[in-house]
Symmetry: C2
Subunit: 222 residues, 2 copies
DNA sequence: CTCATCATATGACCCGGATCATACCTGAGT
DNA sequence: ACTCAGGTATGATCCGGGTCATATGATGAG
């Protein structure tokens, strides 16, 4: 909506570690791709062509299952990079990516990215930092998905999606992030609403009682 | 059992990327810690003191939940490193580690590890490679835990644990790796046994029909 | 050899949540 | 204004699998 919403390339993960001269050199090779809500940036299994970074808006990475279920792995916002690992290694995206809102992404050709890393190996530390953090998150989610009940996982997903007390997500978005169904997401959110914890609207959720939500997200409930 | 079971330091992740001179220099700082089955190497939340590598045997990383459930995140074998991310970053282990079998681990002090990385930044690529692979696995497990039924997850856990047609694991081990309960693991494995897919013993499982098991592990079952 | 401990095994029960069906609401496009 | 797709809502039903109880077989320590 408001246009000053995004970040500068110098603030983005990886790029912010570049010196001014390096950045100047690489900036010309970075192209911008606007995307709409729901627009797929790449599909799982496609050869990794770019390193991506988000200038404005949000992108989710997700995986589909054989039975038609979709699971959101992570939702990324301005300044966050993705596709780095695949660009670095095997050459195939391990998950699909699509716009959660409209926005703009930066793309850096795989080769340019690799060349930069070869020239300045310590830049790898920056990438490693990002990947490490994602690994930490993914593991925590494995633990949560292993035993936590749906309300707990939905509370977590809701909290992750909340900015300034409000989350711009549909019940389906939350269901796919929490590994459950739309119907369950709706029912659970209605209960939260009954308990004055949230206020539900179409396409968004307002958090009224953040501590209570946090309590539910923190597992171990009766 | 047989003593030639382990690997050499030059074959271990990270260390194998070192030059002969670097290895010689660091080898004196690497200490060996034998461990028994079930012996905890470190607990979640403790300050990360070492970079670990496995010389012989197997180690699992796991997380506990408030409700007492334990979830195995990954099982590592000879040559594989762990604790690297925590040694590199925050300074706290994000998960606990314990011996799955008896064995021997190498430990390199955090500072020595960081010093080596600072001297030879491209070594970070080696670490990044490892972490990337773990991230890929963790995400796939998030997807699986989100929707796959218990038999599918148990088949996956069983296949991961199998070496040469046999897995040296208890039903509890499999349950914790698959995010289910011991009772369910037992029942499901009994069904596999009824279907001539496996042969169950105490503390180990022999795989008779690997294709059938693979089929079940591949999600989408009726 | 004996005992304590853990692994395996099985039945009974129940509940969370998936599935299926249906309906209303809301916003965007023609 | 009308239509239509997607979001929200709710009930009915069913079942996978968690929980509890109990029993026996294997194993290692003393």
């Amino acid at each position: 909506m408001r246009s000053g919403d995004g970040v500068d390339l110098t603030e983005a993960e990886f790029f912010r570690a570049l010196s001014a001269s390096q950045l100047a050199r690489i900036a010309s090779q970075v192209i911008e791709k606007p995307f709409a809500r729901g627009r797929v940036l790449f599909f799982e299994g496609q050869p990794a062509e770019y390193l991506w970074a988000i200038r404005r808006g949000a992108v989710r990475q997700y995986k589909g299952s054989a039975d038609g279920h979709v699971t959101t792995l992570e939702v990324l916002g301005p300044g966050e990079i993705f596709g780095a690992v695949s660009a670095l290694e095997e050459g195939n995206y391990p998950a699909s990516a699509e716009g959660v809102s409209e926005g703009v992404a930066w793309c850096l050709k795989r080769n340019a990215f690799l060349k930069m890393l070869a020239e300045e190996p310590w830049l790898t530390v920056e990438v490693l930092r990002v990947v490490s953090h994602r690994l930490h998150d993914a593991r925590e989610r494995v633990r949560s998905f292993a035993h936590d009940p749906a309300p707990t996982r939905l509370a977590q997903a809701l909290m992750r999606a909340t900015r300034d007390g409000e989350a711009r997500v549909t019940r389906r978005d939350l269901a796919e992030a929490a590994g459950t169904t739309v119907e369950t997401a709706i029912r659970v959110l209605r209960n939260f609403e009954r308990d004055q914890i949230i206020e539900g609207k179409v396409g968004r959720v307002r958090v009224l009682d953040e501590p209570a939500l946090s309590e539910i997200a923190g597992s171990s409930r009766s």
